[in-house]
């Protein structure tokens, strides 16, 4: 309850940004992603505040070059320089703001149990790694390029799995998330997204500085890993 109060007060007290500022320049982003990029856990649009800068920058580039498809995003970023997109990513990554409470979903307990199992342990029989193996023990992501899985609406999470399966969301090869998404059944996608959307964000929502153990898959969007050739 105290947390909720902090959240409301913070939202109400945000003043209008000065005109010649980066805040003012990024007003178009905030219509959907919320003030300072902190979309709520309701609806569709993902929160971008506090996400790792490398991850955000990669997504802006992916919208620009057609690896991700959302016409409004592509339209907004397609004619901007790398330097400006990096500045946008850095701005939202630097937002250290409280999270709203998680979604209250009416989902059968068995679905949540399966979701939790996949997130925490994976499914060895189906060659599905645990989410936390790459997204961090606390699921808040790993700097600079692996995003948090918490504080996102279920609809957004489900849509991303769908987009990876049919190739409308891609990342630099090897595209590890596309591989994982293709091996998950629709039932399991629902389980994972439902469980994640109902989890609270830990008190320190900042991404981990480094992997606790080498991640189980090779991912092209993780720079250090790609350059060292670690597994």
């Amino acid at each position: 309850m105290a947390f909720l109060a902090t959240w409301t007060v913070a939202a109400a007290q945000s003043p209008s940004p000065p005109l010649d500022s980066i805040d003012q320049r990024l007003q178009p982003c905030m219509v959907c992603h919320g003030k300072e990029g902190r979309a709520t856990s309701e609806g569709y649009y993902p929160r971008i505040a506090g996400k790792p800068a490398g991850y955000l920058f990669n997504q802006l580039i992916n919208f620009r070059n057609g690896h991700r498809h959302f016409p409004m995003m592509t339209y907004l970023v397609e004619r901007q320089t790398d330097a400006y997109l990096q500045e946008m990513a850095d701005y939202f990554a630097g937002q250290d703001l409280p999270y709203p409470p998680p979604q209250a979903l009416n989902v059968p307990p068995a679905v949540l149990t399966r979701g939790k199992q996949l997130v925490m342990e994976g499914d060895a029989a189906q060659r599905i790694p645990a989410c936390r193996a790459c997204h961090g023990e606390r699921l808040v992501g790993v700097a600079p390029a692996v995003p948090s899985l918490l504080g996102l609406p279920r609809d957004y999470l489900m849509a991303q799995f769908g987009a990876w399966r049919n190739g409308t969301r891609r990342a630099t090869a090897p595209d590890c998330m596309a591989e994982v998404a293709k091996s998950l059944s629709p039932t399991d996608v629902n389980a994972v997204a439902s469980w994640l959307a109902t989890q609270p964000v830990p008190e320190n929502p900042k991404a981990d500085a480094a992997f606790a153990e080498p991640p189980p898959r090779k991912c092209g969007s993780i720079p250090e890993q790609a350059s060292t050739g670690a597994p």
Binding site: R25, Q27, G66, T74, Y84
Partner: protein
């Protein structure tokens, strides 16, 4: 009665034959007015600059695809065109084309295999390019990396999918001919005219087309509806005529995608939509001397009042009053913080809306689209961190957007026609640009 019909048919047939034979001949020769900037380092470099200004790469490159390898979808009222591969790949590109083949395409609008080309490829403008310049473009295109990528068939509606109909279209609407300088005008005006009319193919978007897709500037000096946006007329003082602008401001707009907005009262404009692409992809890389020549020519274009009839009022005066009230409330809630309580704008972040031709021009397509989708002007060397307009399509209904656009078009001495929610709804569909 029957006799009259026969006489009519015979008369029409005779007229067609007459037009067929009396059409002026092709002008194949003519030198381009010389460029006024720094001389290019080589013929290939000269070609590269022309290919850039001719906007070849953006149309002939799919999103994320190899440059010039084609495959970009170009939506038109006649269906979707897919640009072909113009890299030097011998099988799927133009690697097997001779210089003469290339000239024949640019100047006459024919493909190497003898098929007439659709005028989506603006050979109606490129025909003005001199032979020497066309060959320089050919030499440059031979140097880009060859990519094997077969062309995708156009998806056109009947009867436009019948390419041979273009033979008749060409007779009616196309006369090949290299640009002929006007000795009464300055070298700079002539260079600008050559670039604007020919190489840069400005009229391909900025002039209205008839129902058959032909540019009809003589009878209808309006802008064109292209790629879901309205390209304003460059001769209409209520649209984008540049007569009252300084040449320096015109150059700045073409080079940086934005001008003014640092102080109230000065000329101001920003490019969005397809024009933002032209600035981002091409114009920002053009020699400023060439842009200046274009500015000299554009500024000298005579003003022509549009003969298009005024848009009908589709709303009763009582209805309009209610719409204006709702619009005023929406404006105060969503727009006034940046654009000012009286549409005066807040430099440098937001342009004025009072007296802004982009808001008040006859076509309401652009104001509707800018409220629906927002957008950033291009990020250029001269404007690397542009301010942007937020999109309101996710949060406002069609009726609300119609009300707020109507309010902006009819407040603070603006006196343009109101906008209906049907018009807003129509702009919710189709690709963004």
């Amino acid at each position: 009665m029957k006799k009259r019909v026969i006489a009519g048919v015979v008369l029409i047939a005779l007229l067609v034959v007459l037009i067929w034979f009396l059409r002026p001949g092709d002008v194949q020769t003519g030198e381009a007015p010389p460029p006024l900037g720094a001389a290019p380092a080589s013929e290939i470099e000269h070609g590269r600059a022309l290919v850039n200004l001719a906007d070849c790469q953006p149309c002939h490159t799919a999103r994320g695809g190899a440059p010039f390898a084609g495959g970009r979808a170009i939506p038109t009222p006649f269906g979707v065109f897919y640009s072909p591969n113009i890299t030097p790949d011998p099988e799927t590109g133009i690697g097997a084309w001779s210089a003469e083949d290339f000239w024949h395409a640019l100047h006459n609008g024919y493909s190497r295999d003898g098929r007439p080309l659709y005028p989506t490829f603006p050979y109606t403008n490129y025909t003005k390019i001199s032979r020497r310049d066309a060959l320089a473009m050919y030499e440059y295109l031979k140097t880009v990396p060859a990519v094997r990528q077969p062309r995708r068939e156009h998806e056109l509606r009947f009867p436009y999918d019948h390419r041979m109909l273009l033979i008749a279209w060409r007779r009616l609407f196309f006369r090949p001919g290299v640009f002929q300088p006007d000795p009464q005008q300055s070298p700079e005006w002539n260079r600008g005219a050559y670039l604007v009319q020919g190489v840069a193919n400005c009229s391909a978007c900025h002039e209205a087309r008839n129902a058959l897709g032909a540019i009809q500037s003589k009878t209808n000096p309006a802008g064109g509806l292209v790629l879901n946006w309205y390209a304003p007329s460059l001769t209409n003082p209520h649209e984008a005529s540049l007569r009252d602008w300084s040449e320096a401001d015109i150059v700045t707009l073409l080079q940086t995608g934005r001008v003014g907005m640092s102080a109230p009262g000065e000329p101001h404009a920003a490019t969005l939509g397809p024009m933002a692409e032209v600035v981002y992809e091409n114009l920002q890389h053009v020699d400023p001397a060439e842009l200046h020549a274009m500015a000299v020519y554009l500024k000298a274009l005579p003003d022509v009042e549009s003969s298009a009839r005024a848009r009908p009022m589709r709303i009763s005066s009582a209805g309009l009053e209610g719409t204006m009230k709702r619009g005023a409330k929406l404006y105060a809630d969503h727009c006034a913080r940046c654009h000012g309580d009286n549409g005066e704008g807040k430099p440098p972040a937001a342009p004025p809306l009072a007296g802004n031709r982009a808001v008040t021009m006859d076509s309401a397509v652009n104001p509707i689209r800018i409220v629906l989708y927002g957008g950033y002007p291009p990020g250029t060397a001269g404007n690397p961190r542009p301010f942007g307009m937020p999109p309101f399509s996710p949060t406002l209904t069609d009726t609300e957007i119609a009300a707020v656009v109507t309010y902006m078009r009819r407040s603070w001495n603006n006196n343009a026609s109101p906008v209906s929610s049907t018009e807003v709804a129509r702009n919710r569909t189709g690709p963004l640009w």
